[in-house]
């Protein structure tokens, strides 16, 4: 039985109608959000007539149609769900359809005046929708997931975007698992930088922390054996990194023209990338090895001469190693990569620890202390600049362990070469049962003009998000 079958009889009786209600709400939201996005777009186009590309419009229109079709499909499911209510409870295969996800409203405020011409000042409001549809067969061997995502941003047209985070079929055999479709995978162990994590493209307009990712089309074949887990990823269809638009904050002095992207691979976006992943647990050690061959997720940005930057995506080969040693209240972490094909070959690493003090001062709260060192050996002359070239991260994580799951993570990255400081605070707390409030602040200070973050020197911001989960 799935977990969506509440154990309380009264709750179970009330479920079908609430599920229908949820499905209807979802249909409405899914239809309205892209429609509103379209409206915003038209509004923007009027203000900035210069060369607005209409392919995102087409994408949103597709999202609109998709939303309606999907909503109807869900409704159909719900109708089927209710109609044969008298039938044998255990015989209904659609019992296992689950709808969840969230809708959020967000405001991102930049206290400082922008550094580059055309950028907005002040705050940007956003709406975000991220529903999840999950189904599994009665024998649990087949799973289907569909997770669309859309953001409607008020000031930067490039931040208004939609994506398919997940849309896959997963087959679980006795010896092999095969996943086909869009999915997100995470590799790695460290906190301040995700170095070995390479399968998914970063959805950079979402956040600067590399944790928001675009759905990646893949065929993933994995096997779990006594000697570990081995997976092959066939990745057809490259996803381009998202960048802030002309009016957007957190961009380089020149805006990135995503449509001018060029590829080393002859097939461009159609190039098929390959990856291998091996993980194993040996006592207190969690080990991960990875190998990637294909188009780099992080492009070099090349001036076009037209007042814009064009992304150039190299073809790379990258080997990665991630290790965590867990002992007592200590987590010792290491990630390292060797990359070839993006300018000169180079090594990069991030390693450190997390130590947790449990139940501090007689309370239920835990306090984690984090320290990591970041090194990146790529040649800045190759144009694929990174901020984490020789930096130290110090952080602290406070978990209250209360009913609202209140937690906070605060940290600073210190550039050892030029003293640039990057502060970051993330706080979250559940409100009631279905709401969640999140506050995020990122602040750059003492930015050296030679530092890769110099273009963002006035882009410290505070982001507040209120989410409704369903």
């Amino acid at each position: 039985m799935p977990f969506d079958c509440p154990p309380i009889p009264s709750a179970a009786a009330g479920r079908p109608s609430s599920a229908t209600l949820r499905a209807m709400t979802l249909t409405l939201v899914m239809a309205v959000a892209p429609a509103a996005a379209t409206f915003f777009r038209r509004d923007r186009a009027k203000q900035t007539p210069a060369g607005q590309d209409d392919s995102p419009l087409a994408f949103i229109a597709a999202g609109f149609v998709f939303g309606i079709v999907l909503g109807l499909a869900v409704l159909l499911f719900e109708v089927l769900f209710i109609t044969p209510a008298a039938a044998d409870e255990k015989a209904r295969p659609w019992d296992d359809v689950r709808i969840s996800g969230f809708a959020a409203t967000e405001i991102r405020w930049f206290p400082e005046a922008p550094a580059h011409g055309g950028q907005y000042a002040g705050a940007e409001p956003s709406l975000v929708i991220n529903p999840e549809f999950r189904w599994r067969s009665q024998d649990r061997r087949h799973r289907v997931a569909f997770v669309p995502f859309a953001r409607l941003a008020g000031r930067d047209a490039e931040r208004t975007h939609a994506d398919i985070r997940e849309a896959y079929h997963l087959y679980l055999g006795d010896e092999v698992e095969i996943l086909t479709g869009f999915n997100k995978v995470f590799w790695g162990v460290t906190e301040s930088r995700h170095l070995v994590d390479i399968v998914n493209q970063t959805d950079l307009v979402e956040d600067t922390d590399d944790e928001d990712k675009l759905g990646q089309p893949m065929i993933n074949i994995a096997t779990q054996q006594d000697w570990g887990r081995l997976g092959l990823f066939i990745l057809p269809g490259f996803r381009e990194r998202t960048f802030a638009g002309d009016t957007g904050r957190l961009r380089a002095a020149l805006p990135v023209d995503e449509d001018a992207a060029e590829y080393e691979a002859g097939l461009g976006r159609a190039n098929v990338d390959l990856a291998l992943r091996y993980t194993h647990v040996i006592g207190d050690v969690d080990l991960g090895l990875s190998l990637f061959r294909g188009t780099a997720r992080d492009p070099r940005l090349v001036a076009t001469g037209l007042g814009t930057l064009a992304p150039f995506y190299d073809t790379i080969t990258q080997g990665g190693l991630d290790v965590q040693y867990t002992t007592d209240a200590w987590l010792w972490k290491f990630e390292g990569i060797a990359r070839e094909g993006q300018g000169k070959s180079f090594l990069a690493t991030v390693f450190g620890f997390e130590y947790t003090l449990y139940q501090i001062a007689g309370t239920d709260a835990d306090l984690g202390l984090l320290a990591e060192y970041q090194y990146d050996g790529r040649d800045p002359a190759d144009g694929a600049g990174v901020l984490a070239d020789d930096d130290v991260f110090l952080g602290t994580r406070l978990t209250l362990n209360d009913v609202q799951d209140s937690q906070a993570l605060a940290g600073v990255v210190i550039d050892r070469d030029d003293g640039t400081l990057f502060f970051s605070v993330e706080m979250s707390r559940r409100l009631g049962t279905d709401w969640k409030a999140e506050l995020e602040a990122r602040m750059l200070t003492n930015v050296d003009s030679e530092n890769g973050a110099y273009a963002f020197r006035r882009d410290s911001f505070i982001n507040f998000r209120l989410s409704r989960y369903f």
Binding site: M1, F3, D4, C5, P6, P7, I8, R98, S100, F102, R134, R136, R143, L170, L172, E177, K184, V185, F186, V189, E211, A222, Q224, R229, T279, V281, D284, D286, Q324, T326, D328, A329, W330, L331, T356, Y358, Q359, D364, D366, N401, D402, V403, Q404, D405, R430, T433, D434, K436, S467, Y469, F470
Partner: protein, 272 residues
Amino acid sequence: MKLLPLPRAVEAALIFAFGLFLLLMAPAHAEDAAKKGFEIAARSDRSDRGFKDSRVDLHMILRNRAGQETTRLLSIKTLELPDEDVGDKSLIVFSEPADIDGTALLSHAKILDPDDQWLFLPALKRVKRVSSVNKSGPFVGSEFAFEDFTALELNKFTYEFLNQEACGDLTCDVLERTPRYEHSGYTKQKAWIDTKDFQIRKVEFYDRRGDLLKTLTLRDYKLYPPRYWRAHRLDMVNHQTGKSTDLIYSAYEFGLNLGDRDFVKGALKRQR
């Protein structure tokens, strides 16, 4: 009064034997209590032997001092490892509150060492190996500590038999059990185990100062074929804070044919 005439040698032998008996009795009384305690605990533990695997839905109701309630919904899969020197494996998947839907915790229990634990965070799709020395911390904000929630392995405690007394309609053996593992929040626990079905009916938890901290009542026992008892209602009351947590178990399933590969870190991300 004259005793029956016994040969002197026999008399001496009897006196010696009686002396020896007394000599052995004195320490044996304490040893007996420990032995009896262990035997009662073992009988209770072993009444559960051989269930192999199970799956259950759990509804948690967390109540603060003012009586305000919040709920959690989760499911628990358990894989029994029959060896008493190795703990069971378990996989907990949350479905409510909605913001932690899909969050999963995999535990490979150890007897005296900290358990191996991995946490799956669905938003990032990230699996994290986490430290499990936090035995006495609250489990998801409830009055159950991690150590109350993980499998009660027989050899995690030393035991002492205290007395026998009535508990509801049943008679219970009362044991004192002392955690042998590190980082426990308790100096001791008192457990009531009935003499009919050998199930735990009540547990009192004493904090690091030795004061009564919490009382756990286990009710609504049901028998699953062929012979496995499961409580469906666990109420934990914290006497020091006035807070309480109820656990309501439902839809127990056994014989699922689960194996080690269902309890590996790679399985965490495909729980829903």
